[in-house]
């Protein structure tokens, strides 16, 4: 019987090896797999390349992973945040590499990685500093640049509900990068609030089908980044 639920979060992320590329879901605080990132810290892998839209807030999740010195490079669209002191300090100290990617290009490069497309042309960023060093070509008289797929060794994402095959549904804007990251990684680990019986999710409503998911970790009551940040402010 197929059952992708793993009661041990650290075992679930054990596929991550030193030097791996790890895709981490989330936009703002919606969709962050904070508990899986904490399991990854416990697991101990280092020298990681992380792909995330942002660069972590406060001192939980991705920010904590950065703080522990496990990340060599961040591929990211918007690493600036009022609560982003951990990344900012590492970056200004030259202790982390940053690859800045327009947000849509970031999503599309992962979607391409998941869909077997090694490279594609896009007008986004053509003629800007972010096109430096990239091959360019004109289509219909307009300049485009060639962007390459991003594939992850492991994706860590957060969804709302799963079944034991690994079918996933999300909640509101917490969907964001989860579905594309699940496609783009060799192995995908999803933390979910609950697992329901097979067939309980309407087949018309499944957002990430089982083929893209390898491990499930149930976290019924995930940490709230907002509460964490309020607590930190209160402590000052």
């Amino acid at each position: 019987m197929i059952d992708k639920v793993n009661d041990d979060a650290v075992a679930a992320v054990a596929a991550v090896r030193d030097g791996d590329t790890v895709l981490i879901g989330g936009f703002g605080e919606a969709g962050n797999p904070t508990e899986l990132v904490h399991a990854l810290i416990e697991h101990g892998a280092r020298d990681l390349t992380i792909v995330n839209n942002n660069a972590g807030n406060g001192e939980i999740g991705l920010a904590r992973l950065l703080m522990k010195g496990r990340v060599a490079k961040l591929i990211c669209s918007f690493p600036r945040s009022s609560h982003g002191h951990v990344f900012t300090e590492l970056y200004k100290a030259g202790r982390i590499e940053l690859e800045l990617v327009p947000q849509g290009t970031l999503a599309e490069r992962m979607r391409a990685g998941g869909a077997g497309v090694p490279a594609f042309f896009t007008p986004t960023a053509a003629g800007t500093d972010l096109a430096a060093g990239k091959e360019s070509r004109f289509f219909d008289g307009r300049e485009h640049i060639l962007e390459h797929a991003i594939r992850g060794d492991v994706a860590l994402i957060k969804a709302e509900t799963a079944d034991r095959w690994g079918n996933l549904v999300y909640r509101k804007a917490a969907r964001n990068f989860g579905p594309v990251m699940a496609m783009a990684a060799r192995a995908t680990v999803a933390q979910v609030r609950r697992v329901v019986p097979l067939g309980a999710i309407d087949p018309e409503q499944i957002v990430t089908p089982s083929i893209f998911v390898d491990q499930l970790v149930i976290v019924p009551d995930p940490v709230s980044e907002r509460d964490h940040l309020l607590e930190r402010e209160g402590a000052r």
Partner: protein, 218 residues
């Protein structure tokens, strides 16, 4: 002598036709959502996977999984939809978003836009700005007419790194509404009491009157 932030937002909103799909950038553009004329249906897009975004919720109804591009809690209108990031940016990059309203550090007379980095030693960040610049059918900008130091933000050519080239269609400032027109800005409207001379003094490129043949547009 100048329009307030709410007055500018209302002017921008009045220019959005019924049924348009509109992406609102972070900051001042967010305010446009509160000024859509009553009875006009406009469908707001948020890059993080929302169509049909509504206004801010009451504090008790805030849901940190229903946030806008600026990571602030919002609501969803009836008819709204959620989708993932690649689908969301397909809407932007595929030319499906009719209008986007962005902030700006600088706009050049040829329509070049700079709004992603001031080139300093801070942390650079681009977000969805370059995707919107390249993909939205009409890129419009809300900005203060000058910097805090009083220097013009509307220039003959950008001094900062570009977000996109020749893409800005209209600019709404606290002083005027303008259109990039190659080597000059056309003045479509001015705030009460703002003279052409005052405007020229605060603008880093020549000004030109509105094209009368396009008069009906505003």
């Amino acid at each position: 002598m100048s329009w307030t932030a709410d007055e500018i937002a209302a002017i921008v909103a009045a220019d959005i036709p019924e049924g348009a799909f509109v992406n609102l950038g972070i900051g001042q553009p967010e305010r446009v959502a509160d000024h859509i004329p009553a009875g006009r249906e406009v469908i707001l897009h948020s890059e993080n996977g929302i169509l049909g975004m509504g206004p801010q919720p009451a504090p008790a109804d805030e849901d940190m999984e229903l946030i806008n591009a600026g990571k602030k809690p919002v609501t969803l209108l009836a008819g709204g939809a959620f989708f993932h990031h690649a689908d969301s940016f397909s809407m932007i990059r595929g030319g499906h978003v009719d209008i986007c309203i962005l902030g700006a550090f600088e706009v050049a007379a040829n329509g070049d836009l700079a709004n992603w980095t001031t080139g300093g030693d801070g942390v650079p960040a681009v977000g969805g700005a370059m995707d919107l610049a390249a993909g939205a059918r009409s890129v419009r900008v809300i900005t203060s007419h000058t910097t805090r130091a009083g220097d013009p933000k509307l220039l003959g050519a950008l001094s900062l790194p570009a977000t996109g080239r020749a893409i800005v269609k209209r600019i709404y400032t606290d002083l005027a509404v303008l259109e990039p027109d190659g080597d000059a800005f056309r003045v479509l409207d001015r705030a009460p009491g703002v003279t052409i001379d005052m405007l020229a003094e605060r603008t880093g490129a020549p000004l030109r009157p509105a094209d009368p043949s396009k008069g009906a547009d505003r």
